[in-house]
Amino acid sequence: MFVVVVGCGRVGASIAQSLIEDGHDVNVIDQNLEALGRLGHEFPGNLIQGPALETTVLERAEIERADAFVAATNGDNTNIVIAQVARDRYQIPCVIARVLDPSRAKFYSQQGLTCICPTRTAIDMMEGALRAFAAEMTEDA
């Protein structure tokens, strides 16, 4: 498949690299040229520098023919807006947005957007670990 990844931070760059290793085609967008440097010269996909809110930038990344779209910039609101643009304007079948704020992630998930919330995951895992420990303590007592 062909994937457009927006945001070349730790998350975006890592996803792009894994997809290439799995044999997929990937183009990556980031506003910052240095961030695109994470992927290095050997990266086979196109690296596009520019703000992803601009449709010209999305189109330089060939969004029209994308099978999947990943919005992983460091701005929740940017991710939510471009994910909706990818879904509603370009009809991309698989759209995933990273949203750090749990309440916005919950709200937009209810609106039918696939949101991944790392904060929610961290909260759940830490609470889970603490509850498991608390349960052990009561058993021991």
Binding site: L53, N77, Q84, D101, S103, F107
Partner: protein, 219 residues
């Protein structure tokens, strides 16, 4: 009426002043602490600190009982989110949003945030009106109502040149509302004779521009 204004810059503060003068109730949400201090000095408890794209901030600002949400921050993505959350989560009926970069207008339209106000577009429309480069100028768009207000110059040798307004076959879905000559505007009347150099103002549903241009500008 209760208005929640998100973004306390010049636009937000002036809208707040105008609404207060008209006797309405307002809250201004601002996330920059330095700006908030200025706002608090003038608006006291009506200025609130917070990131207006956070649901709990909007909740605390009373968005659920707002009659209108005015999203006028300097970031278009934020204004879109504020508009969507206010409408879909808090059920606010009226949203007004500011478009900072006209290139983002299409996102507001796509995601149903209307009406919008864009300073750049307004300035360009005024320039076109004052210094017409083209014989057709978009004076104003009522996006939600799907109507455009257009100004068209009457070109020499066109069908309209020398014709009675009432004799012209104005396409259905459009209406000439005014005729401007030597900077004086008159409400349109079927008996009015048109001449090259006049400007007509029409209200039209989208898609009638080329038909109107053919009548008044002859191309």
């Amino acid at each position: 009426m209760y208005a929640v204004i998100v973004g306390g810059g010049k636009a937000g503060a002036n809208v707040a002043r105008a609404l207060l003068r008209l006797g309405h109730e307002v809250t201004i949400v601002e996330s920059r602490t330095s700006r908030l201090a200025t706002l608090e000095a003038e608006f006291e408890h009506m200025a609130r600190y917070g990131d207006g794209t956070e649901l709990f901030v909007l909740e605390a600002a009373g968005m659920a009982r707002a009659d209108v949400c005015i999203a006028v921050t300097g970031d278009d993505e934020d204004n879109i989110i504020i508009g969507q959350v206010s409408k879909e989560h808090f059920g606010v009926q009226n949203i007004v949003a500011r478009v900072n970069d006209p290139r983002n207008q299409e996102h507001f339209d796509l995601l149903g945030i209307a009406p919008t106000v864009c300073a750049t577009e307004s300035i360009l429309a005024l320039i076109e009106h004052e210094v017409p480069q083209h014989s057709l100028v978009h004076l104003f768009s009522l996006r939600r109502e799907n109507l455009d207000i257009l100004e068209i110059g009457v070109v020499e040798g066109s069908r309209a040149d020398g014709a009675r307004l009432g004799d012209l076959a104005i396409p259905k879905g459009s209406l000439v509302i005014s005729v401007l000559r030597n900077r004086v505007g008159r409400v349109a009347h079927p008996d009015r004779e048109l001449a090259a150099g006049d400007q007509i103002v029409a209200i039209a549903e989208p898609g009638h521009e080329s038909d109107l241009m053919e009548i008044f500008a002859g191309d």
